[in-house]
Symmetry: C2
Subunit: 318 residues, 2 copies
Amino acid sequence: MVSFSDVEEALERISPYIHQTPIVTCEALDDLVGTRLFLKCENFQKAGAFKFRGATNALALLSKSELERGVVTHSSGNHAGALARAAKIFGTKAYIVMPSNSTEIKKAAVKSYGGQVTECEPTLEARLAGAESIQKETGAVPIPPYNHPHIIAGQGTCALEMLKQVGDLDAVIAPVGGGGLMSGTCLATRQLRPKALIFGAEPSGADDAFQSKHSGTLIPQTNPQTMADGLRTSLGDLTWPFIRDEVDEILLADEDEIRDIMRFVWERAKIIIEPSCAVPIVGLIRRFAGVAKKPSKIGVIISGGNVDMEQLPWMKKI
Amino acid sequence: MVSFSDVEEALERISPYIHQTPIVTCEALDDLVGTRLFLKCENFQKAGAFKFRGATNALALLSKSELERGVVTHSSGNHAGALARAAKIFGTKAYIVMPSNSTEIKKAAVKSYGGQVTECEPTLEARLAGAESIQKETGAVPIPPYNHPHIIAGQGTCALEMLKQVGDLDAVIAPVGGGGLMSGTCLATRQLRPKALIFGAEPSGADDAFQSKHSGTLIPQTNPQTMADGLRTSLGDLTWPFIRDEVDEILLADEDEIRDIMRFVWERAKIIIEPSCAVPIVGLIRRFAGVAKKPSKIGVIISGGNVDMEQLPWMKKI
């Protein structure tokens, strides 16, 4: 369904609109893992997350008449902001169905990009119904957050860029939510560094990819319990085969580790990362503790930096 | 006392030890000021602040016998950590007198670099007495935080690098505490971009440079009231002439503005800056609000990123 050439074409297509994000290194982090990490900083991407890549690619592939109808999605998180911002660039309208319990800051971000927010009850049924109703009413084109070939190809441009910036990585790692970023990462890495290890990382409290990979069948995520709000979703039928066939291992991270490493990165690397970005780093620390033979250069995809500054994980609740 | 060639030589001397920090841009910030800002990110410098440049330059200029005796300073802030880290590199001992009310995180940082912390009462007298006593006992060489030619030359390497990275700046701005960074910035800018405007920036609650410049005499800072903990110190006799003769204007920032812009940078630029770094940005926003003719490219020195994550300015006190 999606191939490496789709990723290559996506990068050419979206390059005028995206930031080529930098690679950041941090000795203090290297010391924790015991090898060299190269952080691909999508927290510096437009709209604050890699999601802008997929959204931009999807919009760039719409016809003029589709763009005239607008686009619609349901999301409480980074896809909402990314789609709204990309829609503004392509001069189309973004209808975003957001659960009523979305944070004010995320609703404000969507609105600031000109997105039209419709609030709904915080259930999957209400979200789907909301999006479907808008679609019927306006003819807007649905742009799903990850289970779509154009989205997967767009997210793959992140690893593609990273592998061009640091040519000799012998392992890469990305967090796994719905699997769009992970699938694209597999496509780019398998083509350019066929022998590199490919790791995925998940919170222990939302470990559907880990469970699915170990059982050999797609097990949906139910009742996720994690502060890593980008990683609570289930794999899709397009992303699951990449996890099953291309990812070497899924690494896990517990909540207290996610909190501590997120804070460590803020304090030492001086960059704002969201909780989801700490998950791969924790996974690597655990995976390579006491292991003599480690990959010597690991590419780590830092997925985003959208954080509610009022609600930091290490802040005491009042 | 200090010249541009001292800055050039300092850069050559310290280059093997420091990070050449990146320039970061942020459209959302540009929109606030109404022109293009180029952030020279010393928050990514070793030990988290530009202070590492001056400390490294000062240590590199010590003789072997001086290095054998060690170095001593009193500091509650970034100079302490920077000197300890530089001392480790040069294989010498750093004795740091820290007031007992220094944050635990700053004491921990100094210790983690191998610095020897001596606590004292939180008064200037106790700090001076503590440092003098160590100096007599050990023969350690005093390395002051800013009022020293080698420190000024070292801090000037920051603007020198920035002007090499972005050649056509027509204004530069730096925060003013003791004036070491500002003095070095003047030296580099006047040489390389003689027509560029040079701005300094201060909190309204610690405006000794502003007051001094307007009165034409050095007025020491007494009872500073600001969250910008790097900017509470007084100018020295070596730094004051640069403020008087080379800086075009000192811009001011109030506490609520510092807090809001610090948070804005975290949220939008996704980098950790300390309160002192918000001061020049606020100064520029105020200075150019409603002004039609603005500099088209302004270099902004982001001085550091050492923040106590438990004590963020927008966190409610419990």
